[in-house]
């Protein structure tokens, strides 16, 4: 049985923990609102670009001589996995689930005798993957979008991926990130970046029709070879911005839970504190009374 003093100290320390987690929750909530707005504002660009690319790709994918970002290298021996994690912890299962997914994917690919390379964004992901897979790391990024995520952050990463692809360092590129579903739910997502997965409806539509619909300036091929690298960057940007919003959401939920748990703990500790105080008083009284009776 801890002494009264120990209990009092314990209660105070849990109280200050609760203050911290409550404050962190508020911070995450305000960041979340901004991140969510940013994610929503970024959507129109990405969806319109997808639509354009879908139109183009549908009519060109079947032809030979299409850009390699679209068709791939024709092999799938070397896989590059881009992992989007966060720089900071204390956000519940956010990084854990990205890392778990990555581990599963690396396992799958290695069993299929493929070579795997990893590009890790975020300090936490790197730390957690370092022990097992540090040999697979090709590039790691930290502090991406520390002061608000901008397109140029994604641009650097996209450039790097394209450079590696052109140097034939890998055949297939996939990004793993947390898609923002709602404040309390994040959905872990694997998205293939290279070769670009042509959306189904575009493939179904007969390509001759599409060609008839649009005129192209300067030419289909030229636009496509411009559009593809751009699209890659946009997809990276979208993944990062979604991941950032998810991180804030996850942190907010985690801190909300922590605040509630701290409250529960304070209640149960206070009850214990009062009980043992009562017990002590009772003991003292019994001692005094029995002492008086003995006289």
């Amino acid at each position: 049985m801890p002494s009264l003093k120990e209990l009092r100290v314990r209660i105070n320390s849990v109280k200050s923990t609760r203050k911290i987690t409550a404050a962190m929750k508020m911070v995450a909530a305000s960041k979340l609102r901004r991140a969510q707005a940013a994610a929503e504002q970024a959507r129109p660009y990405a969806t319109r670009m997808e639509r354009m690319l879908g139109n183009l790709a549908g009519s060109l994918a079947s032809q030979s001589g299409a850009p390699r970002l679209l068709t791939g290298t024709g092999k799938d021996d070397v896989h590059l996995i881009v992992v989007a994690s966060s720089d900071r912890g204390l956000c519940g299962g956010f990084n854990g689930s990205v890392v778990r997914q990555t581990r599963a994917m690396v396992g799958e690919l290695q069993r299929a005798r493929k070579t795997v390379k990893l590009m890790v964004i975020g300090r936490k992901g790197r730390e957690q993957l370092k022990r097992e897979f540090s040999a697979l790391f090709v590039e790691t990024y930290e502090n991406v979008g520390r002061k608000g995520l901008t397109f140029s952050d994604a641009y650097g990463i996209g450039e790097k991926i394209i450079q590696m692809f052109e140097a034939e360092a890998f055949d297939v590129c996939t990004i793993i990130y947390n898609r923002f579903k709602s404040v309390i739910a994040q959905e872990i997502t694997r998205q293939q970046l290279i070769p670009f997965p042509v959306p189904e409806p575009a493939l179904e539509a007969p390509s001759s029709d599409l060609k008839a619909i649009y005129e192209y300036e300067p030419s289909e091929e030229a636009i496509l070879s411009d559009l593809l690298p751009r699209n890659l960057t946009v997809q990276v940007f979208r993944a990062l911005i979604e991941s950032f919003a998810s991180e804030q959401g996850a942190r907010m939920t985690a801190m909300d839970n922590a605040t509630r748990n701290a409250g529960d703990m304070i209640n149960s500790l206070t009850i214990r504190y009062n009980r043992s105080r009562q017990a002590q008083i009772t003991t003292e009284l019994t001692e005094i009374i029995s002492g008086a009776e003995a006289l």
Partner: protein, 138 residues
């Protein structure tokens, strides 16, 4: 004029403009083109330059774009811009800075790839300066 064309200008960070207008003139990579309602559908890349938005036969709004893509359909013009700044908000100092930085990058660049990239930035900066210089003086 009753008929209008829906003009959308989107940058990676957000949707900048979405409104029905009379005509837009877009700096296509093969030359400027004006898009009125019922324009033939086309897809084109956009060079760094200024988009003019026309209303009642006059230029209502001028927006600088740093290149991108445009999709024109009968009822809509969508411009995906890498960067977009209303011409009225361009600042002389920022323009000078960009040209200087881009110029330095061209000097420093080693390898074709880096040089191409730096030259692209320089072209954007120069187009921005041109847009700033020809703005109507109020």
């Amino acid at each position: 004029m009753a008929e209008k064309v829906e003009f959308e200008l989107v940058s990676p960070e957000r949707l900048l403009v979405s409104e029905p207008v009379e005509m837009v003139v877009v700096p296509g990579s093969e030359g400027d083109f004006g898009a009125l309602p019922h324009h033939a559908p086309m897809l084109t890349s956009v060079r760094p330059g200024v988009i003019d938005v026309y209303e009642n036969g006059k230029v209502k709004n001028r927006i600088f774009v740093a290149g991108g893509f445009a999709e024109v359909t009968e009822e809509r013009v969508t411009v995906l811009a890498e960067e977009a700044i209303p011409v009225a908000e361009i600042e002389a100092e920022a323009v000078a800075d960009r040209i200087r930085i881009a110029g330095e990058k061209v000097e420093e660049a080693d390898g074709d790839r880096a040089r191409n990239e730096a030259q692209r930035l320089l072209r954007i900066a120069q187009a921005l300066k041109a847009a700033y210089d020809e703005r109507p003086v109020l």
